[in-house]
């Protein structure tokens, strides 16, 4: 992705080293509770005020997306309804915030507030769906490459290298311009070009785990390869994947908005933040609300996800922030 910064370098993918088989032991003495690494991480995350506030903000955005029809109902303005007379000035320009249109109108006289609420659906849907797709492909390929080794690893590792060298945004734009924009195409394109980083992280983790005792134990019990990969190894490599995924969501949301901004988002009149900002571009000199409100919605969303992702990373890897006593 040429314009969006790469998240790989900002994070340190070193998850908890302990293996879950050892941590679910019954409590040794009264008063001392055994906690899984997941519980420990969650406890640390809960103490992180910034992360908790971000979580609440994300919750509100999700609520807004779900309740989008409600916004249309309350304001009385359907999402694609064009109010050519009351929604536009006599010169045909968007109207500013008023009691009728709380966040103003766009170039076609549509209610910006309602369109922002509907736009949240697209951003969240693409953000989460593409991230899930990316993680699933990345984990399967990374597990296969790291665990099976040999020729499989050689081929898959080269494939990872190839995908990482593809000029993502250019090829994504070319692809979308051919297939025509749609939600599914956007999700597939993002997932298809982003899995390689996940696969590389997982592969590295699996390589360091392949020869551990618990894998040997599983094998001596007659477990199949796929059982060892998905039941024994997978839970141990999940921590860095979850950290990566949480930081990938905001990147994906920006990529989706960027595609829409470049005119390759969902076809109009679908309400979509990137598309709204793109339409607002020609009006920024006369109608600041047209670009500012959708822009703020997009920025708040990515910021909240980034802050939460940072918190999740610190929760799984407390070393990274605390090892700095000078």
């Amino acid at each position: 992705m040429s314009d969006t910064a790469d998240v790989v370098a900002v994070m340190s993918p070193s998850g908890p080293e302990s293996d879950p088989h050892a941590t679910t032991r019954p409590t040794a003495a009264k008063g001392i509770e055994g906690r899984t690494p997941w519980q420990l991480a969650w406890q640390r995350l809960r103490r992180d005020r910034v992360a908790m506030v971000s979580l609440v903000v994300i919750g509100l955005i999700v609520l807004m997306a779900i309740a989008a029809p409600l916004a249309a109902l309350v304001t009385g303005h359907p999402v694609n309804e064009q109010y050519r007379t009351i929604g536009l000035t006599p010169d045909g320009l968007p109207r500013g915030p008023s009691s009728e249109f709380w966040l103003g109108t766009d170039d076609l006289g549509r209610d910006i507030l309602v369109r922002i609420a509907y736009g949240a659906r697209i951003s969240l849907l693409v953000g989460v769906a593409s991230t899930i797709l990316t993680v699933v492909i990345g984990v399967v390929i990374g597990l296969a490459a790291g665990f099976l080794g040999g020729a499989v690893d050689t081929v898959l590792a080269r494939l990872i290298d190839v995908v990482l060298s593809v000029p993502f945004l250019l090829v994504a734009i070319a692809l979308v311009s051919i297939t025509g924009p749609s939600l599914i195409v956007t999700v597939l394109v993002i997932g298809f070009f982003s899995w390689a980083s996940v696969a590389r992280i997982v592969r590295g983790q699996v390589l360091s785990m392949r020869e551990r005792e618990f894998v040997e134990a599983a094998r001596s019990l007659g477990a199949s390869n796929s059982r060892i990969m998905f039941v024994d190894i997978l839970p141990n490599v999940l921590a860095p994947v979850i950290v990566y995924a949480s930081l990938l969501i905001p990147v994906v949301i920006v990529v989706e908005a960027t595609l829409s901004f470049l005119g390759l988002g969902l076809a109009p009149p679908t309400a979509d933040w990137g598309g709204m900002i793109s339409e607002a571009q020609t009006y920024y000199t006369t109608s600041w609300w047209f670009v500012v409100f959708p822009g703020a919605a997009l920025l708040i969303t990515t910021l909240a996800f980034n802050l939460l992702g940072d918190g999740i990373r610190d929760a799984f890897d407390p070393r990274s922030e605390r090892l700095m006593a000078k």
């Binding site: 790469d6 060298s165 593809v166 945004l169 250019l170 920025l299």
Partner: protein, 319 residues
């Protein structure tokens, strides 16, 4: 070392070859109506067929592909469908703009990012550290196109309204026309690109510096009575540079293929904008040329990064 280089270059060619196959395949699947568009609405089927023939579009796909690869190996990327200009000429005129944009921005973001990162790392958990971290996260979360539009609004539009025209709304002034106009046209795009990218470097430098400053040899240097500034810059920063160099190489490499968004917002006719225009017109030779160049830039940058790694960190052995 030599074996390493040969392997990496071979892999690079593999990548480029796969990309040509993919892009060719892609556009074959797509409904191709370039000839019809060029011929105009009134054209007879004969005219369309003639144009199709002139562009070589009536040939079977494998033949078109082989011709393309054969010519490309001789440095000829073909001609654009609409004006019959050699693709290499188009690339040649767009490249200086992208280069100006990327290197100016890179200079800024590296300076900003490393400076802020060092300040943050030497004053951990201080107010300065927290503000810089918050600020960099803010810019990191800002989509490039949004930042570009906001900068245009405040620094071009509001400022011009106020009677000070400091920056143009967009466009490019060639370097040959003087340093002043050139820089004036590029300041806003530079900052757009740099502010979004600097965040990564601030965080990277901070993390890397904190690790290094906790090392024994840094304590040793301090205990020898070496001044703090020297400890931080000479002993700390130098060792902390490796991940920064890696990131820098990858970023510059991938941006050279076209800074699509920034170029679009500021109407800079660089590689990114040219690519978007070509994609909208289905001008296949131009698209392939730019995508190939972009991939090549990434491949070369990756090789350089690995080499730099070995030079900076003697513990790394290439094999």
């Amino acid at each position: 070392m030599v074996r390493f280089l040969i392997r990496r270059v071979a892999l690079g060619f593999l990548v480029l070859w796969l990309i040509t196959v993919a892009v060719f395949g892609l556009f074959f699947v797509a409904p191709n109506n370039v000839a019809r568009t060029l011929a105009g609405r009134q054209a007879t089927p004969e005219t369309v067929a003639a144009i199709s023939h002139r562009l070589g579009l009536d040939q079977p796909l494998w033949k078109q592909y082989l011709d393309f690869v054969g010519n490309a190996l001789h440095g000829d990327l073909g001609y654009d469908y609409y004006h019959q200009v050699p693709v290499t000429t188009i690339l040649g005129s767009a490249l200086p703009i992208t280069l100006s944009l990327v290197f100016g921005a890179a200079f800024l973001w590296l300076g900003l990012g490393v400076f802020n990162g060092v300040i943050s790392a030497t004053h951990p958990r201080s107010f300065t550290d927290r503000s810089l971290t918050a600020l960099s996260l803010f810019f990191y979360s800002t989509p490039t196109f949004l930042l570009g539009i906001l900068l245009l609004y405040v620094l071009y539009f509001r400022l011009t309204l106020a009677g000070h025209t400091a920056f143009p709304a967009g466009g490019y002034a060639p370097f040959g026309g003087g340093l002043g106009p050139w820089a004036q046209h590029l300041v806003l795009p530079w900052f757009t690109l740099a502010l979004v990218s600097a965040a990564t470097y601030t965080r990277l430098t901070r993390a890397s510096m904190l690790d290094v400053l906790g090392e024994d040899y840094v304590r040793t240097a301090r205990s020898k009575g070496i001044g703090e500034r020297r400890v931080v810059l000479r002993h700390g920063l130098r060792a902390a540079l490796t991940p920064i160099v890696t990131q820098f190489g990858i970023d510059v490499g991938s941006l050279l293929g076209g800074v699509v968004v920034t170029e679009t917002v500021f109407s800079l006719p660089g590689l990114g904008k040219t690519a978007i225009d070509a994609i909208n017109q289905q001008d296949l030779p131009v698209i392939i040329g730019i995508v190939l160049f972009a991939a090549a830039a990434v491949v070369v940058a990756n090789i350089l990064v690995d080499l730099a790694y070995a030079v900076l960190d003697p513990r790394v052995r290439l094999h």
